[in-house]
Point group: C2
DNA sequence: TACGTTCCTGAAAACCTTTTCGGCATCTCT
DNA sequence: AGAGATGCCGAAAAGGTTTTCAGGAACGTA
């Protein structure tokens, strides 16, 4: 006995397959009593429709592919969660594919997803810098999240790193800090540059100079946070606040400040970036930080994608005979780069 | 122009759909020259078969569901990665569903996955303790990873926490430590109990007592690691090694040891648990720890699942007429709980 | 030449659902 | 009572593939 099909339900209810289908899908042309009979039969048999067959005919599978290069990383997961709950579990299921940063594997996954007839794709990169586009002529809409696409014709959703940097420094200034340093990660990351840009802009508005007279670029590690802090204290012992480019770096900063016996936040305030909970919330003292709102970014990506899917379906249906203009489905997506603002999370490290 | 179908390929190659199908699937009853023509046509059109249609007829979708309750957590991700690469991206795609720890949402997801006709399921819990079974009469094989199922008829794959505890203490003993303390997390977690059990067993073999005369149960946080260490040092100042139940706790331990000016590892060695890289590798000094081999666990889960799927298909096919014994597909899985050993990762915190 | 093999190909059924459209019965209105 | 409208239902096609089975061609043999 295989799985129960619509035929079984129809038979039990004493109607045709067509009627059973209409009854279960809420089509109006079914008498109320008939509908009830069908629904009861379906419940009794614990019927659930075969989505493969549905997808085959409706040309819509209710699945999306999430193509990431950063599974172990902390970026794709919140995005995934945001996407998941925006889609709603009954409607849409998510295929998760990790390309491990390998372009070939990515192509493989892409092909597999397309042959599974996903309705759309979300691409999540491993770093916030631009990444190659999957191409313009895909049969489904694509959204790039976190890492923007290099092709401006694609729709990308990214964190507002400039705004985040500004937000961090603004917070420090509001707490009366005047001698603010910035220790951050790898200078080749656009995110590092952007955060520094935002920070400097806010300082300039206030007529302030950066403490230590430079942005301390290095690596995204606790060790770099430690050594940079030592150098900083040597060059500018009067520093009263540090904006760290990541929570990891901030942990290193805290560590050295403790060693030097400098009270936090009395003597020096510290703010991080990422709101990586395990690091920030457990720090001593708990770390104020900038949250990139990645879940919101994921939700937004899902919403945009949804809209695009509906759009292509409608336009695809109506334009089928009228136009054969372009195979691309991305027409439904307003191209460009959308920016999601950051959010300040205050804890005790800034008072 | 919709997606290219087998009909298009057949037409271009000048054969029937049936022949095209056989040619592409490596069926023997096709002349070599014909096969070539079909393959070239398929390549030229960039054909990829509609997996929905394939699944509909072969009764096999090449998809599995991964049902987790711990997405943001660090446990499901490595397992997911292990599963992903064991499946091989061309063959199998993974639906990822996060139930957020809610049983109702889990039911929802389960229903959705079944109606998508996944070939199998992997269930990953949020804590290492037993969780309710999804039930015995599911139409596909199910494997429980990390959290075992409460039903012994299911197949569960879990970490060997007892062995891990033993491994940690053994490592400390081999480095000449005799006064070993154990600070760990919530006593209601089976994992905490098991790790302690393993640790105590190894100590007993050596005729040693636990330093501080007790296992320090508390919470899985850095803060607890700090306060427990202070209490420990007060009660037993001569302690020369600490086995922490998690890397978070270990970070707290390190912190206080630094404050007290006790050299690590000279004066006190510290070992953690989890090998949570961001915490362990960046610690000062880098933290020795126990790795739970979660990726391997994921790979193993995928392999077992694969075997079960093949098994049910074959037996399902051959037994279809002969027997109508049970609807359950799990007959192909040897039930019980399989245990995956832990692995020692040595860094500088133990010398 | 007639017949039996062996090879290859194609028509058609099957998988399960949705949707269109024709048809029957029941009403409504004159 | 007859004509038209309305409400419900079912037959059938469609979606893209796999697989079975029948039949045609080519070949070898008697």
């Amino acid at each position: 006995m295989g799985p129960v099909t619509l035929r079984d339900v129809a038979q039990l209810a004493g109607v045709s397959i067509a009627t059973a289908s209409k009854a279960l899908n809420g089509q109006p042309q079914v008498r109320a009593s008939t509908r009830d009979r069908v629904i009861r039969a379906a419940e009794q048999l614990n019927f659930s429709p075969n989505t493969l067959a549905q997808g085959l005919i409706t040309q819509r599978t209710g699945t999306v592919g999430l193509l990431t290069s950063d599974l172990e990383g902390r970026f794709s997961i919140p995005i995934l969660m945001g996407a998941e709950d925006a889609f709603g579990s009954d409607q849409t299921s998510v295929f998760l594919c990790d390309a491990r940063g390998d372009a070939i594997r990515e192509k493989h996954h892409l092909r597999a997803l397309l042959s599974r007839r996903v309705d759309g794709l979300i691409v999540v990169g491993a770093r916030p810098d631009a990444r190659p586009s999957l191409g313009r002529d895909l049969p489904v809409p694509v959204i790039y999240a976190y890492s923007p696409s290099e092709d401006p014709a694609d729709l990308s959703l990214v964190t507002d790193n400039v705004g985040g940097g500004r937000l961090a420094v603004d917070h420090l200034i509001r707490h009366g800090r005047r001698r603010i340093a910035h220790i951050t990660g790898d200078a080749t990351y656009g995110a590092a540059q952007d955060r520094a840009t935002g920070a400097l802009a806010r300082l300039a508005e206030e007529g302030l100079q950066l403490a230590g007279d430079q942005v301390w670029f290095g690596s995204w590690s606790e060790a770099w946070g430690r050594s940079a802090t030592r150098m900083l204290l040597e060059r500018d012992p009067g520093v009263d606040a540090v904006f760290a480019g990541s929570d990891e770096i901030a942990r290193g900063v805290l560590d050295v400040l403790h060693q030097e016996g400098l009270d936090i936040p009395q003597r020096v305030a510290v703010i991080g970036f990422d709101n990586w909970n395990i690091l920030a919330a457990n720090a001593r003292p708990p770390l104020s930080t900038i949250d990139m709102n990645l879940e919101q970014l994921g939700r937004l990506a899902a919403q945009r994608l949804f809209a695009a899917i509906d759009g292509t379906l409608r336009s695809g249906a109506s334009a089928a005979g009228a136009s054969a203009s372009g195979a691309s489905a991305s027409g439904a997506l307003a191209p460009g780069t959308e920016t999601v603002p950051c959010r300040l999370v205050t804890r005790e490290s800034t008072g």
